[in-house]
């Protein structure tokens, strides 16, 4: 008995030693990991300020597919023709903007040196700026560089006086409609939301089409965009100008959400819109199953591509309607994408060259002319507007009223989450409109103060 005890002791001593060894080894490995990432951090911090005129190097560009396959590769090949010694590798990002951001945040906050340049949503500057996840471009580029963009875009890309994103292309909500169906039924293009609803019902009832109006009602960022359009034409706001007080339980917000819900209950929109994101809404419309579609600029090109669409040649584009009694047109939410630089990038000079080229007339013309994206550079916009071959959304864009999302706070994701989860609950009928907006209000208020 005693013998076993003592051997056990010896054994446990040995074990302690072995475990210590194991711990020490892992600590060493950890320390090694730690030091690499911290040295990366300091090297990028300590670099001198490049002006953006580098002509050689390798950069990685992180971008989600822009409307059509091939557009990113096309831009890269034109860029590499202009700068043969800079090699750009494309890293394809997720199309869902939330997933896209999550991956980026994880990579960049983890110290990854790639991607060097990333295409990010227009609503990211505050969050990325506040957490230093993007390089303040205004530290490197002169104010003359930012003067060429269309009004509002640069201020939207700024946070606390620094510009974080270089606008690549703009986007906004449009109303797509079936010219052929409206002509057959002798209906005008709707100018008010109520008119849109009643025309939808008429077209469905008379058997012209399966569904009236399809849009984005899923519980995600896109619903916040759609909601902003109804809310603004109802005269409401999400927050006060200082981002201190949420204003979501207002009569205007109730009017907006009640109307959105009525689209579903009346049958003007299919019940499934509460699960639709852009691709689903677009697919229903392009299959010829809906008379009206609220979508972004890129929906035009898709609807005119015979491989995806049964409605080629039958689609019209108009600004979004407004509520009866308000002046037409209504409000289109601003979307679009900017180019940002990873603060850990090893080659900020080449990154800047790439970003500058992407806002050149050549690149902006490719985006606008070939792919019907709305250019961000004012002179290119004007040139395109005067051309007869310009795609319809770009022409309609000149008449629209724009409304941005309340993205001036680093807590915008929580704020938007408060909006879309509760509005979606109201749309699906699991909460009354007023209860949903009360919940949205209190969650938005918590969000503004940095809560969960």
């Amino acid at each position: 008995m005693k013998k076993i005890d003592s051997s056990k002791k010896r054994f446990s001593l040995r074990r302690t030693r072995t475990v210590t060894l194991a711990v020490a080894t892992s600590a060493l490995v950890l320390a090694a990991c730690g030091s690499t990432s911290s040295s990366q951090g300091t090297s990028s911090q300590g670099s001198s300020q490049p002006a953006g005129s580098a002509t050689s190097g390798n950069i990685t560009w992180w971008a989600s597919p822009i409307a059509q396959v091939g557009i990113r590769a096309n831009l890269i090949s034109h860029f590499e023709k202009a700068y043969p010694k800079i090699h750009v590798t494309l890293e394809s990002a997720p199309t869902n903007t939330d997933t896209n951001r999550s991956q980026l945040v994880t990579e960049i906050s983890g110290g990854s040196t790639t991607p060097d340049v990333f295409m990010g949503d227009v609503i990211w500057p505050a969050q990325f700026g506040a957490h230093s996840l993007a390089v303040p471009l205004s530290k490197y580029l002169p104010s003359s560089y930012f003067a060429k963009f269309a009004p509002g875009l640069v201020s939207g890309a700024s946070y606390k006086g620094q510009v974080y994103g270089s606008p690549l292309f703009e986007d906004q909500g449009f109303l797509y409609y079936r010219k052929d169906l409206l002509a057959k039924a002798h209906l005008p293009v709707p100018k008010t939301w109520q008119q849109l609803e009643s025309e939808s019902l008429t077209l469905e009832k008379d058997g012209y089409v399966k569904y009236g109006f399809v849009w984005e009602g899923d519980s995600y960022e896109g619903l916040t965009c759609d909601f902003m359009e109804y809310l603004t034409s109802a005269g409401g706001k999400v927050v006060n100008s200082g981002y201190t007080k949420a204003e979501l339980d207002s009569p205007q917000a109730i009017k907006a959400v009640s109307f959105m819900r009525s689209l579903i209950t009346s049958g003007a929109s299919p019940q499934a819109v509460t699960t639709f994101q852009e691709p689903q809404a677009m697919a229903v419309f392009d299959a010829g199953n809906a008379a009206f579609l609220r979508n972004w600029d890129y929906a035009w090109a898709n609807s005119q591509t015979p491989a995806n669409s049964k409605v080629v040649g039958d689609v019209g584009v108009a600004p979004l309607p407004t509520f009866a009694g308000q002046s037409y047109p209504g409000y289109s939410n601003i979307g679009g994408w900017n180019l940002y630089i990873n603060p850990h990038s090893k080659n900020i000079a080449a990154d800047l060259t790439f970003i500058k080229w992407m806002s050149s007339t050549e690149a902006q013309m490719i985006l606008g002319k070939t792919y019907s994206e709305i250019p961000t550079v004012e002179s290119v916009r004007q040139e395109l507007a005067s051309s007869s071959s310009t795609p319809p959304p770009l022409k309609v864009a000149a008449e629209t009223n724009l409304v941005p999302r309340p993205a001036g706070t680093p807590n915008y994701p929580q704020l938007s989450n408060a909006i879309y989860t509760n509005v979606n609950a109201a749309l699906s009928g699991s909460m009354s409109v007023s209860a949903a907006l009360k919940a949205a209000q209190s969650q938005a208020q918590t969000a503004l103060s940095g809560g969960l």
Binding site: I4, S7, F11, R14, R15, T18, L21, A22, V23, T25, S26, V29, L30, S37, S38, G41, Q45, D98, R101, S102, V105, T106, I108, S109, G110, G111, Q127, H131, S132, L133, D218, S219, Y220, P270, Q271, A272, T274, T275, F276, Q280, N289, P343, H344, N411, P413, N417, T421, N422, N424, A425, L427, S428, G429, S430, M431, A436, Q443, T446, G451, L452
Partner: protein
Amino acid sequence: MAAVTGVDSVVKVMDKRGHRDVHSLRQARIGWMFSTPALVFIGLVTIFPIGFSVALSLSNVNVTGNGFALQGFTFSNYSQLIHSSTWRYALVFTVFYTVVTVAVEVVLGTMIALVLERLTKARGMMMALLLLPWSIITVISAELWQYIYEGTYGVLQAIFQSIGLGAPVFLGSPTSAIISMMVADIWKTTPFVAVIVIAGLVMLPSDVYEAASCDGASNWTIFWKITLPLLRPTIAIAVLFRVLQAFGVFDLPFVLTGGGPGTATTSLAILSYKVMFQNIDYGPGAAVAVSATLLVILGCLLFLRVFKTQVGREEVQ
């Protein structure tokens, strides 16, 4: 795993000879030597992240371009949770989801196992077919279910319509979305339970059954009085595995509903993901994750306690 085997072999040697000789000591040393790389690896990929999560959840975390900065100890992340109706809902939903899916899976899985065990022909083929859902990666099977549930061209909606049940949008209302998600989960993981239970069934001693049939017990009595009690340790293990998995459910709601409609299918894991990676709030996000872990460990310990007598008795036999 390797470490455990090393210790086991040492214990066995001791049992057999009653004392330790130089040979077994050397073996032990070699065992530990071989296990060290595995231990280091486990330490790196499991223990360090868990420890780091706990540290994050108890700190004021500031995210910068250069990584996390832990700025001081705080309980505020946890108090934020307790005051958040979103977290409370996610907790209730996750517990409810776990209880329902695991209960259904255990009953169904046991039934399937009982049938399979009696199959004389094509048992191997049936097993392979049965394992198909389990072997498909959840994200992919969730995408398939998404097609089935889709609200405008979904297969299930078409079936409902053709038999005159209207055109329900399965993922469009909270109750039906939760049920749809549970069905997808049960479809996928019932085979897992069935396989574990079959393993248990095969190991049951045949003499007890012979005795029972000699005594004239009916099949029904045999099932309730012999098979099920003897199977309890096996079922306990299946339940344990399933609870641990179901409590962390992420991929199904992520693909099917994104946590919606509203927040109806937001599990603790989805909430944790949203708070951490969308809001970039690592402190509260880690607190959600740690709270979920603590709760599931607590639940499993309680569960094991309830089943302990059974498991213990089985071991004596």
